[in-house]
């Protein structure tokens, strides 16, 4: 009797002890880890990357490059991006960053008055240095320190040269861009113009397009009607490439068409793989982010002053279908 009671109770103790230990372990595991408060003074540089559209693959890579470089440099980097194409979000973010007295801003250049005013007046007033990434605005209009990204004129030249060769240096090229071409598009157009000057047999027409699907398709249709012989298309902005090719496909066989585009957007890549597009310029967005951040940090720290105002070009390649 005595032994039975002792044994049963001992078994109970062992049983409960095991589960108690497990439970203690689980409680310790479940302890919430509150973010550690930081010390009073923050000497880490604060840099903000502001872009227009968060969801674009291109800008995601820029962001990635900047953040990675920031970790290496020991600076705090954050990407602020608006949703969609609303300029308002973009400008507001830029303004907030300036009010926040960040140490530097990496920004997607925008060819708008508001942008220019913010960079030129407000940023200068608050003493915030700005470097444009991927897209540029004229230095004199924005007081940007420098530009990091592809040299758009050179990239356009490469495209135009390739197309001219494919066209045997004769025929008509339709250049597609915004109705109000941005500074970047203008640069690209400039590159195309400069190249084609050497080939008098080739003429080119600029076709401006709206923002919506209908507008793009209508403009494409109109152009197809007006220039029925023009089978060479050069798309300055990847965002319209899809709808332009859709419209051409709807109208006729796409094969004889020679279509080249800028920017590696996912839809452009699939068009390239499908053989609808014959080639595209692939840029190095990650490198842009990385280099842009490094230059900004160097400028803030006084290591490289002044920065080359003409910009720091990043490499680009022409990727052609079937290669």
């Amino acid at each position: 009797m005595k032994r039975t009671v002792t044994r049963v109770l001992s078994v109970c103790i062992v049983f409960f002890a095991i589960f108690t230990v497990i439970s203690v372990w689980r409680v310790i595991q479940a302890t919430p880890h509150f973010p550690e408060p930081v010390a009073d003074s923050v000497d880490q540089l604060r840099i903000v990357l502001i872009t227009e559209n968060q969801s674009t693959d291109f800008w995601k890579q820029v962001e990635e490059g900047a953040i990675q470089a920031g970790e290496k440099q020991g600076v705090l980097v954050e990407a602020w991006a608006g949703f969609g194409t609303e300029d308002q979000d973009f400008n507001r973010n830029l303004e907030t960053a300036i009010y926040s007295k960040v140490d530097g801003i990496l920004v997607q250049g925008q060819d708008t008055e508001a942008f220019k005013e913010l960079t030129k007046i407000k940023a200068a007033f608050y003493g915030v240095p700005i470097i444009t990434v991927g897209e540029d605005v004229p230095a004199e209009e924005s007081l940007r320190k420098t530009y990091v990204g592809s040299n758009q004129i050179e990239a356009a030249s490469l495209l135009a040269e390739t197309m001219a060769e494919k066209m045997n240096y004769q025929g008509e090229i339709v250049v597609v861009g915004d109705e109000q071409p941005t500074y970047m598009q203008k640069q690209r157009l400039q590159g195309v113009e400069q190249t084609l000057e050497a080939y008098p047999e080739i003429t080119f027409t600029y076709q401006g397009m709206g923002d919506t699907k209908e507008e793009i398709m209508n403009a494409t249709m109109e152009r197809l009607n007006q220039s029925p012989d023009a089978t060479s298309w050069l798309v300055l902005d990847s965002k319209v490439a899809y709808f332009v090719t859709q419209e051409i496909k709807r109208r006729t066989q796409v094969d004889p068409y020679l279509i080249y585009s800028f920017d590696e957007a996912p839809e452009v890549r699939s068009l390239l793989q499908a053989g609808v597009i014959d080639g595209m310029i692939r840029q190095r967005p990650q490198e842009m982010g990385e280099q842009g951040l490094n230059l900004l940090v160097q400028w803030i720290r006084g290591e490289t002053v002044p920065l080359n105002s003409d910009g720091y070009p990043t490499p680009f390649v022409l990727e052609e279908a079937g290669l």
Partner: protein, 480 residues
């Protein structure tokens, strides 16, 4: 450990454990409470930033409308308040929100700077600049509001996970509490059980021992293997058992002795009866002898009659006086009777001389002391000689002693024979004696006079034997 200490120990242990658990639970509860409230206070403080910055802009607007010192004072107060909030918000910076929070703090700086610029422009009455700076301040305040929402959103995202973890931890704590309750209950049950055993076991042992003692077994020692009050009780009880055991044994011994005494008394009574019985016959015999003597006398056999009288006298003397002291006179009278009988037997072979100092006849000696010596001389000195012999009894005084000397002229004794006579016990093989041996005589004399040298024997082969009794000279009759 005493029972009291045991109880104290058990209760203290239980209280201690319960207390420790209570403290731990309270502590963890408080911890969780603090964590909850710290999260909530973050939100509230950030919300205050918006309120305060809006208030600052409102006061600024009022000041532009009505630039009086009182309003400026209010503006200053609003600014101070915002600074205070700024300081509190500064403490909310963490690793994850460092950038956003620093931006946020510096935006407040920008707002205050813009407000101050507006103020100074108002004082300089530069209307355009005032409007511009006020708009700037307004925009900054709006941006701050935006940012507040943004940071709150981020915080919610960060602390949502923490909330989940807190809730999970409290669930885990609840489970832990249940397991712990089980564990402690088991331990307390076990300890209490062992503890109760340690109290009741000695009691059981003691009860068993008491039962044994009650049944009369005083031999088994009581041993209790604990070290408390019960053990003390047991030791006392054991001492009591030992005492009872000793008493019991003593009583038993006494009873045994009494029993033996009783038995021996019975035996004594029996022997007395027997001796009485044995006395009856001699008396009968003695009376018969007297009757025979008278008959012989009447029949004319006077010699026979005398002989019978002598036999009867001797018989009476031997029956009556064996335990008493007698005078030498009585003793000599008995010897005369004895000699008369022996003469009838030995006739001319026996010559008996009696040389007695009459003055010494009052001397007391144990009865039947001389007769056995005479008898001995008769056996050794007369019986063995065909021509018979002479026995002389002399009683005379020598210095302070009375000497009684029995001399025979028999064959004498070899030294070994003489030694045997003096030191051997009463011989039983000789059927002629009156049963009182030589040794008996010696012993009795030694006891009577309380001295060792009461008798000397000289003997020479072919010459004879002389036995001398040394009797101390007495003035009074010795007390019996």
């Amino acid at each position: 450990m005493t029972i009291q200490n045991k109880i104290w120990g058990l209760v203290s242990l239980a209280v201690l454990v319960m207390g420790a658990i209570w403290i731990a639970l309270t502590y963890s509860n408080q911890q969780a409470q603090e964590q909850y409230s710290s999260i909530l206070s973050r939100y509230l403080q950030m919300n205050e930033v918006t309120t305060s910055s809006q208030a600052l802009v409102t006061e600024l607007n009022e000041y532009i409308r009505l630039p009086v010192p009182a309003q400026e004072q209010r503006l200053q107060e609003e600014e101070q308040q915002l600074r205070g909030i700024q300081q509190r918000v500064e403490a909310l910076r963490t690793e994850t929100n460092q950038l956003d929070m620093t931006n946020y703090l510096l935006m407040m700086d920008s707002l205050i700077e813009a407000s101050n610029r507006t103020l100074s422009f108002v004082k300089q009455s530069e209307v355009d600049a005032v409007t511009q700076e006020f708009n700037e301040a307004n925009r900054i305040a709006a941006s701050l509001e935006d940012r507040t929402l943004y940071i709150l959103d981020q915080e919610l995202r960060t602390y949502n996970g923490l909330y989940q973890e807190l809730i999970q931890q409290s669930d885990e704590l609840e489970t832990l509490g249940l397991w712990l309750l089980g564990l402690i209950s088991s331990i307390v049950l076990l300890v209490a059980y062992r503890f109760s055993l340690s109290i009741t076991r000695p009691v059981h042992e003691l009860t068993r021992a008491a039962n044994e003692v009650a049944q009369g077994n005083f031999q088994t020692p009581i041993h209790i293997s604990s070290n408390d009050e019960i053990a003390f009780l047991a030791r006392t009880f054991d001492t009591m058992r030992e005492n009872i055991n000793d008493l019991f044994e003593e009583t038993q011994e006494k009873a045994r002795l009494e029993n033996e005494l009783q038995e021996s008394q019975l035996l004594l009574k029996e022997s007395q009866l027997k001796s009485l019985q044995s006395q009856i016959n001699p008396h009968f015999l003695f009376n018969t002898l007297n009757t025979l003597s008278k008959k012989a006398y009447l029949d004319g056999a006077e010699e026979t009659s005398d002989l019978l009288v002598s036999v009867a006298g001797l018989l009476r003397y031997s029956l009556k006086k064996v335990d008493q002291s007698v005078t030498l006179a009585e003793e000599v009278h008995v010897i005369e009777q004895y000699i008369a009988i022996q003469k009838a037997r030995f006739a001319e072979r026996l010559t008996f001389h009696l040389e007695v100092d009459e003055r010494l006849l009052d001397t007391y000696i144990p009865s039947l002391t001389l007769q056995p010596i005479i008898e001995n001389a008769m056996i050794h000195g007369i019986e063995k000689l065909v021509d018979g012999g002479t026995i002389t009894l002399r009683i005379y005084r020598e210095q302070e002693s009375v000497l009684a000397e029995v001399e025979d002229d028999g064959p004498g004794m070899q030294p070994e024979e003489l030694h045997r006579l003096l030191h051997q016990e009463v011989r039983s093989e000789t059927g002629h004696s009156t049963s009182i041996g030589f040794q008996n005589v010696v012993k009795r004399l030694q006891l009577f006079f309380n001295r060792a040298d009461v008798l000397t024997v000289t003997s020479a082969v072919g010459v004879g034997t002389t036995v001398t009794l040394h009797i101390p000279l007495q003035k009074e009759v010795p007390v019996e």
